[in-house]
């Protein structure tokens, strides 16, 4: 009983998050048509962003960095067009293309 309880606790404590977040999904795209990391960085830098790093999430490029308003943000970009879809600052959404299009 004691041992199984401890094992259960250790098991639950060993699960880490920060993988697929499901926060935003981009439309299905052909992986071959995706912009490369360098292209994404160049476009954003030209628009006044500072890019720290990026990863794939929900079929988008998820970029971590600083936006032109100097806010520390995470941005979801359309992987083919490079258009910014969603921007969140520490978990608070500050831009959502779905609202912007309304």
């Amino acid at each position: 009983m004691t041992r199984s309880m401890i094992a259960l606790i250790l098991l639950s404590l060993s699960t880490t998050g920060a993988h697929a977040t499901g926060r935003f999904h981009c439309e299905a795209t052909d992986r071959a048509a995706w912009l490369g990391e360098t292209q994404v960085t160049e476009r954003l830098t030209a628009a006044g962003w500072q890019v720290s790093h990026m990863k794939e999430d929900g079929g988008c490029w998820e970029v971590y960095g600083t936006d032109p308003q100097n806010r520390r943000v995470e941005a979801y970009l359309h992987p083919v067009s490079g258009e910014v879809q969603l921007v969140s600052q520490r978990g608070t959404v500050v831009f959502d293309i779905r609202d912007a299009n309304e």
Binding site: I6, G17, R90
Partner: protein, 199 residues
């Protein structure tokens, strides 16, 4: 031999400091301030998560004593609960320092203090400060029964940590697993303490 080593205070201190040493090596090895993802930003998440985990472990000790009263392991843990609490604060302090370093300026820090994910983090940290400052034997002795009362700040601090973790949105599932487990243990303890009164 094993028992002496296990019960030596330095052994536990060493174990609890070990992740900090690993973080330091990672930080030095990745050439902080260089191009790409800075080591400061890289360590922000693991230090916060470790602090929260240690907090959950610390707070699970009492309920576990109720659930498994005969367990030698949890009796051993109970005697060392303060070590875990202080370690949780240590990593929270490191987490806060890394955040400040990553933001780079007081203006930048102030610009996001009003965000719910950030002020909950500050609140949790500020609630833990008096607990850390009074964690030594001298303060325990001097405060007497008020020391236990003061320790109850742990509960609002834990709620603030949970809110901070959920709102920062960097692994909500992990946050819920940790605190869900703790909540379940607290419910079990509450049931155990209430039971004798019913009969």
């Amino acid at each position: 031999m094993w028992r002496a080593l296990r019960d030596h205070p330095h052994t536990l201190w060493g174990l609890l400091t070990l992740p900090g040493v690993v973080f330091l090596i990672l930080w030095l090895a990745s050439g902080h301030g260089g191009a790409g993802r800075s080591a400061t930003a890289l360590l922000l998440h693991p230090t916060g998560e470790l602090s929260a985990r240690l907090m959950v472990v610390t707070m699970a000790i009492s309920p576990m004593r109720h659930v498994l009263p005969g367990s030698d392991f949890w009796r051993w843990m109970r005697r060392r609960r303060r070590y875990f609490g202080v370690a949780a604060f240590g990593y929270a302090l490191l987490h806060t320092a890394l955040y400040l370093a990553d933001m780079g300026s007081p203006g930048a820090v102030m610009s996001e203090v009003a965000l719910s994910a950030i002020w909950t983090g500050w609140l949790a940290f500020l609630l833990l400060v008096p607990l850390a400052l009074t964690s030594n034997d001298a303060m325990l002795f001097r405060l007497g029964r008020y020391w236990r009362l003061l320790q109850r700040l742990t509960y609002p601090a834990a709620l603030a940590v949970l809110a901070h973790w959920l709102l920062i949105h960097d692994g909500a599932a992990a946050a819920l697993v940790h605190f869900g487990l703790l909540a379940a243990l607290q419910v079990l303890r509450l049931r155990n303490t209430l039971k004798p009164m019913e009969t």
